[in-house]
């Protein structure tokens, strides 16, 4: 499926998955041209204020602004019909209540004129207050199956988040670590999009048994490009 000229120039990487064409944006989101759908995972909105509320730890209260600004850029570039937020969109159940007014407006603006799907996550099992959109625990569309936590049993076409994958390579004695998309042709796990979200190395035990290790591929998010690196080249 041909992209409009301005989109084909974006530094995204095209991959085939379950017969579908998907585009990995180095900013950490996934675009599905056939459906006009933009997928992001683990926004963790209001993570900063959650620290302040629970532990008196005053992280800069700008993470939601930063996350939404970056998302807005992606939306401008891809002009999606649908946006799917793949769980842990909010850092906790009260987070949507703490949204600063400016962020609430920014979010509404992003939602306007398109369909918005909230998939629930372990951090946000309840739908956000007064924001609209469709709320679900899992969503199936064509061959693809979207849910927050990857399932222990193999199901073809699963796209999940939750684990915040990051990958590390070492070359000439130097290590480089980046957030990444990771998959084996049957399953894809999305990187976390939120400004305050760290990463978990895909060699960590949490990823054990999720993939066919010989088929493992990772797509590392660079500054302005996506780098495909096979699982065998990654280091713990």
């Amino acid at each position: 499926m041909a992209l409009p000229a301005e989109q084909s120039e974006l530094p995204a990487m095209e991959i085939g998955f379950q017969g579908e064409t998907l585009l990995i944006d180095p900013r950490g989101c996934l675009y599905w041209p056939r459906e006009g759908m933009l997928i992001v995972s683990d926004l963790h909105l209001e993570k900063g204020s959650s620290f302040a509320a629970k532990r008196g730890n005053f992280m800069p209260p700008y993470d939601t602004h930063a996350t939404l600004e970056r998302l807005a850029l992606c939306v401008t570039d891809w002009q999606p019909k649908t946006i799917l937020s793949l769980g842990d969109s909010f850092h906790d159940n009260d987070a949507s209540l703490r949204l600063p007014q400016s962020c609430r407006l920014a979010l509404r603006q992003l939602m306007e004129g398109r369909e918005w799907i909230w998939v629930c996550g372990n951090h946000d099992p309840e739908p956000p207050e007064n924001l609209g959109g469709t709320f679900c625990t899992e969503m199936m569309l064509g061959p693809l199956n979207f849910l927050h936590e990857p399932q222990a049993q193999f199901r073809y076409g699963e796209i999940a988040g939750h684990l915040h994958p990051a990958a590390k390579i070492r070359r000439r004695g130097k290590a480089v670590r980046r957030r990444c998309m990771v998959g084996d042709g049957r399953r894809l796990i999305m990187p976390a999009f939120g400004a305050f979200t760290g990463g978990l190395n895909v060699k960590d035990a949490a990823f054990d048994n999720l993939f066919e290790s010989t088929e493992l591929q990772s797509w590392l998010l660079g500054q302005n490009a996506v780098y495909q690196i096979s699982g065998s080249q990654l280091v713990p």
């Binding site: 209260p61 600063p100 070492r170 070359r171 004695g173 130097k174 780098y227 713990p236």
Partner: protein
């Protein structure tokens, strides 16, 4: 019985009182109290604070404690049933080990004079039970560290604990004041003065460039920019040390830092002396040399290893063996730098360049801890530039010149920590606290706006977007005081107090070599190692640690598991550069050596020849000139500059130069920096571009690079992120530990980088970013020194276009390819890894 005494500065009739038991004690040992000891006593008895500067071995410690001992000998202890008194004298040293050592030295005179005085230590190693007991029943003399003082004053019982405090003694003051530890300590001292306005301070210091800086530090600074100074007792002299540079028949290498070539000579020197201390600049150097020495130790001389990463119990064993005179040599890093008395050391070997003349003097002071006998020391330069540096340091030591760093303005992150600590002790008025803080020398010029910013940071994070007012940690209450909002905040403060932020460290645990899929079995802990170093290794790589070759088996949580390797030739860590930058003073002397033949006559022939050949093939720059050479090599073109300003300043220069060369379309590919020079390489012919005036050298090296280019680079610099992590930890934004669970450095690094990015783009004037920039300017980036160099060499750039590499360029060219990577270079590694996949596929 009062006596009178003529002071060293000619002050007449300085009365002092030395009770009879003391006089007898001196006489019993066949001693006379020394003039500086009596002078200090007299000043303290007159209620004055004093700085004592004296060389090692001059009885500085006794001088410092004499006023307290005399005073306490006169005051009977409270009888049973009488109210307990708080401590009388507080002694603060930069090192835990020093406090322990001083206790031993103090107990001797106390015992011999049968004085009823109890002395106790309180450090991070002191068991909780004893710390509790000390609070209820304080000793008369407490020996402690800056961190413990910060904890003591953050306690609500602090005023009672210190209500009898008379004297505070600061040992090794010169080394305390130059860091953030010194800032926190200065604030602590200001607090103590609020409890006890007539408190006397005594500073003990080695020779420094600006004694007045320390004199200010010791006393309360008046308002309105006036300056107050403490009294000053200065004891000159001491026997001139006997220092030589190792004369080896072996060839001195062009570059590198291991000094392996000299180990045969060093071993012979150890054999010829009773006990030798071998000082090196880094842990990895210590490990390498320790192994090299044991490789040739045919006589199996007892040679031990001592550095800060080793496990405490191992270090103690070595220290005890040293005190029992069982060792012939000890290879050590700066953990042994300061005034610990090691008894009968009769030779100090200093491996690698000393980097500063003062540091050298301090280390050499270790040998023969007696003032009237000369110390013996041998300098072992590891490469040819270090030969010049050693010679310069040697000249400097004979001149008695000092290059201690200037004192810096008090850091804002430390201030934030102190404000929270103050609140932990009890409610305070902002006006009072501001007055108290500005009475300390490092914060004397802190303006009210900065103070209020710090207060706001402690309260709610200090963000322009006032999102956290409802969660404030400290709040202003109706009576106008600021109070903690919850007692648990004090508990957390205690876990995070202090200014020493270590690079993330992993425990090194010995385990058996692991078969596939078996779990790690926990073995003994050998010590701690930098996480960054371990991460650069692959499983199965071997490295040196605690004198053994170890094989990395894996990393789990905060430990790396290793097994003993049969391998005798380990994959040794690439030397990560000196810990200390070359001092400005030594750099100037080294430049002088290049410029002036007369200055070179002391250098060994092979180094002199090297410099002579440079003169034939290229140029020897004059003292105030900056030499730049350009030449082709392989399929690349190089530009080498020789500013001699230390690795950190050069690294900053390198980042800025490559930016500018990029703009000039010179296609720079990378650079490498050493303490002496910087080399940039690229794809276009620099010589030709300079000839055609496509590159204008004076424009390229113009001071204006410290403007926009610096700002732009700083924004993306990983160095700044690291600095930010330090500041954020000290200020309490990032917690070191949390009750019940230790956060690993690994997680912390991730989140502090993210925090930095978000903060920089949304609140660029935040107090933590101010603190970070201030640190970077002096520390990691050394911007100030770079600026001085650029302005000094303005209009004094000499350029030489060469057909091939010059002799002076050889050392830095050997470093090319070992450069560390950051930013864009990381992307190129990713690209490389990705393209390899394509090839394979």
């Amino acid at each position: 019985m009062s006596q009178q005494f003529l002071s060293s500065t000619g002050e007449k009739n300085l009365p002092f009182f030395l009770p009879e038991p003391f006089q007898k004690w001196f006489a019993g040992h066949g001693w006379q109290p020394r003039a500086h000891q009596l002078e200090l006593l007299a000043k303290a008895q007159a209620g004055k604070s004093t700085l004592l500067i004296a060389p090692t071995g001059a009885g500085k410690t006794l001088a410092g404690f004499l006023p307290s001992l005399v005073d306490l000998a006169q005051t009977p202890k409270p009888r049973p049933g009488e109210a307990k008194r708080g401590i009388h004298t507080l002694y603060i040293s930069p090192l835990k080990a020093l406090a322990v050592d001083i206790k031993r030295n103090l107990e001797k005179p106390i015992e011999e004079m049968r004085l009823d005085i109890n002395v106790e230590t309180r450090t991070g190693d002191t068991p909780v039970s004893r710390r509790q007991r000390q609070k209820l029943n304080p000793p008369q003399i407490l020996l402690t560290t800056p961190e413990q003082l910060a904890l003591l004053i953050a306690n609500k019982d602090a005023p009672r604990f210190f209500d009898n405090l008379q004297n505070v003694i600061f040992d090794e003051l010169h080394s305390l004041v130059t860091s953030k530890r010194g800032h926190l300590l200065a604030l602590g001292l200001a607090r103590l003065r609020s409890f006890r306005p007539n408190l006397k301070t005594i500073g003990l210091s080695a020779t420094v460039a600006e004694p007045d800086d320390l004199r200010r530090w010791l006393v309360a600074q008046p308002e309105l920019g006036e300056i107050a100074l403490s009294e000053f007792v200065h004891l000159q002299g001491g026997a001139k040390p006997n220092i030589t540079i190792l004369q080896s028949d072996e060839r001195v290498p062009w570059s590198g830092h291991s000094a392996r070539y000299a180990m045969g000579d060093v071993y012979r020197a150890i054999k010829a002396h009773g006990t030798t201390l071998l000082f090196v600049n880094t842990r990895s150097q210590a490990e390498i040399l320790f192994q090299e020495l044991w490789n040739i130790n045919e006589d199996t001389l007892p040679i031990a290893l001592h550095h800060g990463s080793l496990d405490v119990s191992q270090r103690r064993k070595v220290e005890e063996a040293m005190q029992r005179n069982e060792l012939r040599a000890i290879v050590a890093t700066s953990t042994l730098d300061l005034g610990i008395d090691w008894g009968d050391v009769d030779l100090v070997v200093h491996v690698g360049a000393p980097k500063g003349a003062s540091r050298l003097a301090q280390r050499i002071g270790r040998a023969n801890h007696r003032i009237d006998e000369p110390s013996r020391a041998i300098l072992v330069p590891a490469n040819r530039f270090e030969v010049m540096e050693c010679q310069a340091a040697l000249n400097a030591n004979y001149l008695g010149a000092q290059d201690t760093p200037p004192l810096l303005r008090g850091a804002l992150d430390v201030l934030a920590q102190h404000i929270l600590g103050t609140a932990c002790a009890g409610p305070f008025h902002a006006d009072d606290l501001y007055r108290e803080i500005t009475s300390s020398a490092p914060y004397a010029d802190l303006n009210r706006e900065e103070f209020d910013q710090a207060l706001d940071f402690v309260s709610t994070g200090g963000y322009a977007l006032r999102a956290y007012d409802q969660y404030a940690k400290i709040r202003k209450t109706e009576d106008g005081t600021w109070r903690l909002s919850h007692p648990s905040i004090a508990q957390r403060y205690r876990m995070n107090c202090g200014t020493i932020v270590e690079a993330p460290m992993l425990d090194v645990r010995l385990t058996r070599k692991r078969g596939k899929n078996t779990a790690f079995q926990g073995g003994p802990i050998l010590g701690k190692i930098e996480e960054g170093f371990i991460e650069s290794l692959a499983i199965g790589d071997t490295f040196m640690f605690s004198g053994q070759t170890l094989r990395l088996e894996g990393i789990r949580e905060a430990a790396c598991y290793v097994s003993k390797a049969a391998d005798t030739d380990p994959k040794v860590p690439a030397y990560a550069g000196g810990k200390f930058p070359l001092s400005t003073y030594l750099a100037d002397l080294v430049r002088g050596m290049l410029a002036d033949e007369g200055e070179r006559k002391e250098l060994p022939p092979q180094v002199r020849e090297w410099i002579e050949i440079q003169k034939l093939k290229s140029i020897l720059p004059k003292r105030d000139e900056l030499l730049i050479e350009t030449f082709p090599r392989g399929d690349r073109y190089y530009m080498v500059a020789y500013p001699f300003e230390g690795r950190m300043a050069h690294q900053t220069l390198g980042m800025l130069l490559t930016r500018r060369l990029e703009r000039a379309r010179a296609k720079p590919l990378g650079f490498v920096a050493t303490d002496y020079a910087i080399a940039v390489w690229g794809l276009r012919d620099f010589s030709a571009m300079i000839k055609k005036q496509e590159i204008n050298l004076s424009g390229l090296f113009d001071e204006d690079m410290l403007g926009d280019d610096l700002e732009a680079w700083l924004d993306e610099s990983f160095l700044l992120k690291r600095t930010f992590r330090y500041c954020a930890t000290i200020a309490g934004l990032i917690e070191r530990r949390f009750p019940g669970k230790e956060k690993t450095g690994r997680q912390m690094t991730v989140s502090s980088d993210l925090i930095y990015d978000v903060l920089r783009s949304h609140d660029p004037n935040h107090i933590l970013l101010q603190a970070t920039r201030a640190d970077a300017a002096h520390g990691l980036l050394d911007v100030r020194r770079l600026g001085d160099m650029l302005s000094r060499t303005k209009e004094r750039i000499v350029h030489k276009a060469l057909e091939q590499i010059s002799p002076l360029a050889v050392p830095i060219m050997l470093e090319v390819g070992r450069e560390s990577i950051a930013g864009e270079a990381q992307e190129s590694l990713l690209e490389e890894a990705a393209s390899e996949l394509v090839k394979l596929g």
